[in-house]
Amino acid sequence: MREMISMVVVLTVLSAFSGGMLAAVKTGTNDKIENQVLKFQKAPAIKLILSDVSNDPLQDRFKIMDQEEEVTFFVGKYDGTPKAITFETKGKGFGGDIGLMVGVNIESDEIIGVAVTTHSETPGLGSRAKDDPKFVSQFAGKTMDKNLGIKKSGGEIDAMSGATITSVGVCLAAQKAQELYTRLKPEIEKQTAQMAN
C-alpha cells in the first residue's frame, strides 16, 4: 500500500512540475515564435510576390475565419492604397504538405504570383518548386476562373519533369487559393477598405 501511494505521489508531482515548467516556457516564447514563423517562412515568399509595395505587408495583416480555419492575409499597398493581398494555402506533395503563398490583385482578381513557403520534397527534384522560378511563374496573371491543374489533367500548368507529384501538389494549393479567395472576397474587400483609411 505504502509503495502504491509513493508511486502515485511521485508521478503526480513530477508531471505537475513538468506541466508548470512547460507552461512557463511556452508563454515566454510564444510571441517570439510567432515572429520567427512570419520572418523565416512567410516573409521571403511575400517579398518575392509583392516586390514593389510601399508598405510592409508583414505589419499590415488581418485574419479571417474560414470554416474551421483562421487564414492570415497580408496586404500590399501601392502608393498608399491596398491593391494586393497574399495568403497561404497547402497542397499535398510527395513528402508532405507544401505551403504556397499566393498573391492576388484585388482589383483585377488576377494572381500576381505564387511562392513556396515550406515543403519536404526530394532535393534536386521536387525542391525545384521553391528554388526554380520557372515553374511557379506560370501562375502569374491567371484569373480565378482558370483551371490551374497540370496539363495532363486538362489544366494550364506545365508540370516539372521528374516531379509530377510535387507539381500536382502546388497546383492543388493554387486551386484551393482560388476557391478560398472567391469564397472570402466580400470579407477581404471589407477588411482591405479599412486599411486604406
Binding site: 509503495e3 509513493s6 508511486m7 511521485v10 508521478l11 513530477l14 508531471s15 513538468s18 515548467m21 512547460l22 516556457v25 511556452k26 516564447t29 517570439k32 515564435i33 520567427q36 514563423v37 520572418k39 523565416f40 517562412q41 515550406t118 519536404s120 526530394t122 532535393p123 534536386g124
Partner: protein, 197 residues
Amino acid sequence: MAQSIVKEFTKGLWAEVPPFRLVLGLCPVLAVTKSVENGIGMGIATTFVLVCSNFLVSLLRDIIPAKVRIACFIVIIATFVTVVELMMQAYTYPLFLKLGIFIPLIVVNCIVLGRAEAFASKNPPHMAIADGLGMGIGFTLSLGALGAVRECLGDGTILGNPVFGPDFQPFTFMVEAPGAFVCLGLLLCLMNLIGKK
C-alpha cells in the same frame, strides 16, 4: 574522484561513442545528417536533453519508486525535449524547420533513456552530468562527422561553403536515406579499423 569524472566524461567521446560504438539512436543519426549544420544542431539539442535529464534523474534517484521509474524518466525527458523544441523555434527557427519531427523524437532516443536507466539512476549528480556531457558531445561529433561526409559528397559544400569547383556534380545519393546507411557503415568500418590497432 576528479579522475573518475574525467573517465565518465571521456568514455562518451571514443570508447563508448553512441552511434558508432553502442550503435544506438540511429534514427536521428541517419535522418538528419544531411549537412554538418543539421547534424551539430541535432547533437547540441540532444546533449542539452541528455545533461538535464541525467542530472534530474540522478537527483531524484532515491525518491523515484523502482516500479514506475521508466514512466518518471520519460516525463522528465519529454519535458526537456519540449523545452528544447520551443527554444529552437524561438531562437533558431531555420534549423528547427530542417530538423522538424526529429526534435520531438529525441524523447524516444535510446541514448537518452539508456543513460538515465543505466547510469544516472545509479550514480550521484556530478557523475551523471559528466556522463551526459561526454555522451552528448560524442554524439554531436559523430553527427557532425557523418554530416560533413554526406554534405561534402552530396552537395559539394561544407557548412554551406562550396569545397569543390563549380564543375562539381553533386553525388545526390549521399544526401538521400541510402547514402546515410552507406556512410554510417563506412565510418563504422573505419573506426573499427583504427580501434583494432
